[in-house]
């Protein structure tokens, strides 16, 4: 207790002493604290610091927060009435050969010409040394048969000699029937449901042939509903029976031992389902093809088109695979029908206005401008700092040596600086940019190269400042005094010279940062600096060189310009503030 009182007493004493002692009233601050205190009293400098903090957060944190990548391209979905399919009413015969056989082109051509001449009847024609008979089943539907040689029949008076051809057998019944027919002078006969022909050959010799179906000719087209049914629907028997049934108006047919249901919508249009109700195929005289390659039109779509065309509708609705109803319109163009529909296409979302997704819209590559600005800020600030550090390292070393040693060293180095200063900056950068363009340098390597070139080209100013400052300081009385008091050289440099150069350097560097950022922006604007996919504020402003963007898309270039202006302003404010703060002659 007593101790506490004593403590209080001494404290009071101390306070009194301090109160009495004029010198104690002013709080003693370390030089760093003094600079800091003076700095934060400067409103402009604080504004500058705030701007810079914002820029750094914006650039380095913004990139992390932004949901988009810097090179993410955005697409927009656009609806357009586009041609989707073309349809044509088939007016040519299509031939389906019996399974395992083919029908030669000659036969097809002969058939076509024969049928055209004698419309509406069965025709017999010869092609490839074979006789074909096209049996008309219905309009535009023929079954083509051909005689297959079985042997020869020779009439020798009363004797009929039936000889089988090589590799063929003639049954006794057929033998008898053929003989009878030959005797009677018939050219054809039927036996057990099969038709046979006797073709007069030479004299009283006849060729015995059996009439076999070789192909069918139709104007209808079968589209399988599903690729798995293509073999089923592709079989000759299926086609033949299906179309026969269709022409006969029947609702079912049997092919290959399976019974199918046939739903006839019109004379030329029908659809086939199997017993379990699966759609197998669609038969129609309308051929539908997609406009774009690689698109497979589903059978039900083709069916819908065919229905619409046969019913002479100008539009129809179709439920697509996704369950959406699409409206298709049909236009007649020449002999073909053009089916068009409103289609959704993905377009690069260029020059999008600011929206909730893109607060500052999108640029000419369809990239989010805000995100680009964030990543661009990283590059711009990074370039500024690295180039500044590079310039200062070189400048301080060269300027320091020049100033401290003086004499011929100084002369040599300063002439070297003059030499560097007389290298034209922009032509150099343009040449360097062109060289890097021609070598197709990686964008990141290009960035580093650019920083190196800018640093190497820009150190002369720093060197001159440092040299001048050190030269003048070296001759100051307080430097002579350090010599007179016998202080070590290293201490003289680092304790007396450097602290006196440092403030100027810091101010210079801070101010210089702004101009470096401007230079980088200029170079990037000219297309010599940062390249896609990297961005910098300069490249973003570059889009304003397009007059359309300049006049219509303020959100593309004004924010980038503002960021540059603000950053440079911020650096200059901070630089000014630092200069004032470092100046010991400033009032507290």
């Amino acid at each position: 207790m007593s101790e506490k009182i004593k403590d209080n007493k001494t404290e009071q004493n101390n306070q009194e002493q301090m109160a009495l002692d004029d010198g104690r009233r002013v709080k003693v601050l370390s030089p760093g604290m003094m600079v800091f205190k003076r700095f934060i009293r400067n409103r402009l400098a604080i504004a500058g610091i705030c701007i810079l903090i914002f820029m750094f957060l914006f650039s380095f944190l913004g990139g992390l927060i932004s949901p988009y990548r810097q090179d993410q391209v955005f697409y927009k979905i656009d609806s357009a009435n586009k041609e989707y399919a073309g349809a044509v009413v088939n007016t040519d015969y299509r031939f389906v050969a019996v399974d395992g056989k083919t029908l030669s082109t000659m036969v097809r051509a002969t058939f076509n010409s024969q049928v055209k001449g004698k419309a509406g009847d069965s025709v017999t024609f010869t092609a490839d040394n074979n006789t074909y008979t096209a049996n008309k089943v219905d309009e535009n539907f023929y079954i083509i048969t051909s005689g297959e040689e079985l042997g020869t029949v020779a009439l020798l008076g009363k004797i009929v000699d039936v000889q089988a051809a090589e590799g063929k057998e003639i049954s006794a019944e057929l033998n008898a029937a053929a003989a009878d027919a030959a005797k009677a002078g018939q050219t054809s006969f039927e036996l057990d449901g099969a038709a046979y022909s006797l073709t007069r050959d030479v004299g009283k010799n006849y060729k015995l042939g059996v009439m076999k179906e070789v192909a069918l000719a139709t104007m209808l087209n079968v589209d399988t509903a599903d690729p798995q049914y293509s073999s089923v629907a592709g079989s000759y028997e299926f086609r033949r029976n299906c179309e026969t049934a269709m022409h006969a108006g029947e609702t079912s047919f049997t092919a290959d031992g399976v019974t199918y249901t046939l739903e006839i919508t019109s004379e030329t249009d029908a659809s086939v389902t199997d017993a379990s109700g699966n759609a197998i195929a669609n038969v129609s005289n309308i051929i539908v093809n997609p406009v774009t390659n690689g698109v497979i039109l589903p059978a039900d779509y083709k069916d819908a088109v065919a229905d619409a065309i046969t019913n002479k509708k100008t539009s129809f609705e179709y439920v697509n695979a996704n369950g959406e109803t699409e409206k298709h319109t049909i236009q007649m163009r020449g002999s073909t029908y053009i089916i068009s529909t409103i289609q959704q296409t993905h377009l690069i979302d260029m020059y999008a206005e600011p929206s909730a997704q893109h607060l500052l819209g999108t640029d000419d590559h369809g990239m989010d401008v805000l995100t680009r600005l964030m990543y661009g800020g990283r590059i711009s600030l990074l370039v500024g700092f690295i180039v500044m550090i590079l310039e200062n390292i070189i400048g301080i070393i060269i300027g320091g040596i020049s100033g401290y040693f003086g004499g011929w060293v100084d002369t040599m180095l300063m002439r070297f600086v003059d030499l560097f200063n007389s290298i034209p900056y922009y032509p150099m950068m343009i040449i360097a940019g062109a060289i890097m363009d021609s070598f197709e340098v990686d964008p990141y390597l290009r960035l580093y190269m650019m920083m190196a070139i800018m640093g190497i080209m820009g150190w002369t100013g720093v060197a001159r400042v440092v040299r001048g400052q050190i030269l003048s300081l070296r001759e100051q009385d307080f430097m002579v005094a350090t010599e007179a008091t016998g202080i070590k050289v290293s201490r003289r440099i680092f304790r007396h010279l450097v602290p006196n150069v440092m403030p100027l350097l810091i101010v210079q560097a801070t101010m210089g940062l702004g101009s470096i950022i401007l230079t980088e922006a200029t170079l990037s604007f000219l297309g010599l600096g940062i390249k896609y996919p990297l961005a910098s504020w300069g490249t973003i402003i570059n889009s304003a060189s397009n007059i359309y963007v300049m006049t219509n898309c303020w959100y593309l270039w004004i924010p980038a310009g503002l960021l540059i202006v603000l950053t440079v302003l911020g650096f200059n404010f901070v630089g000014d503030g630092l200069r004032d703060a470092f100046d010991p002659k400033m009032k507290r």
Binding site: P31, V480, E483, T485, I487
Partner: protein
Amino acid sequence: MSETGANVLEVRNLCKYFPIKAGLFSRVVGHVHAVENVSFTLKRGTTMGLVGESGCGKTTVGKTLLNLTPKTSGEVVFNGNVHLDELSGKQLRAFRPKIQIIFQDPYASLSPRLPVGEIIGEAVREHHLVPNNELDAYVSKVMKSCGLFDYQKDRYPHEFSGGQRQRICIARAIALNPDFIVCDEPVSALDVSIQAQIINLLEDLQKEYNLTYLFISHDLSVVQHISDTVGVMYLGNMVEYADKTEIFANPLHPYTKALFSAIPVPDPTVKMNRIILEGSIPSPANPPSGCKFHTRCKECRGVCSQAVPKVIDMGNGHTVACHKYDAESGYDKEEA
């Protein structure tokens, strides 16, 4: 520390020429004869005043003595045996505390980035003059003896007035416990009341620490007040050197006479008998032949422009460099 009376400093024929460079390759085209054949000795505990008009080489003498600018020729011997130019860099640094300098401009001679305590204590620590834990107390003591307050230790030079700054400069020199201090016009930048304070401070410190001063000034009344001996310089040469009382009572050299006649007398009734010197000081790069003063001397005769006058000892430590007092020069035989 050797006793009072021993020679702290002996200067013999000190010369300092600055080369004049010109042309593309900085060819040396001539020399500025800043100091020529200056000789004197300084006893411990005494003050030598060095006077002369601007540009006569007073400051150069001071700096050359301390080897802050290397001398061209001559000898400077401290404490009887120390030749600064023969010391290695390290030895020279170690000897530096013994010889200090106080500059003319108190504003330029203090590093603006260091607090006062650091300015004063820096070299003390550097040379391990006191143990590190006593450094702070030592600095306080030195500051106190120079009329500074303890609490000013952490302040920066810009917070002080000119007089206070000069005290700091003095404290910096005193802290190193020197034998010899070159006071290079320490009061010329200060106003008269402060001048008196600083002069008194210097005198007090001299008594306290048995210091030896080379007091460079162009202010004769200050020199008259503080000095034991006085040297008068003209254009790099020391033209007259004597005890203070002797030289002020009996100036011999025509230049000294002219200089001293300019001392204002604080009595309006006294008619001042001023000797006005015609013309301005000649260029030290191209000094006049013979006696350098002959271009402005009223008592100039033929020999003066031809022969360099010898230094004549007039007795009682009074030396003068003038043909007038040299019987062998033939000055007397010529007509005025």
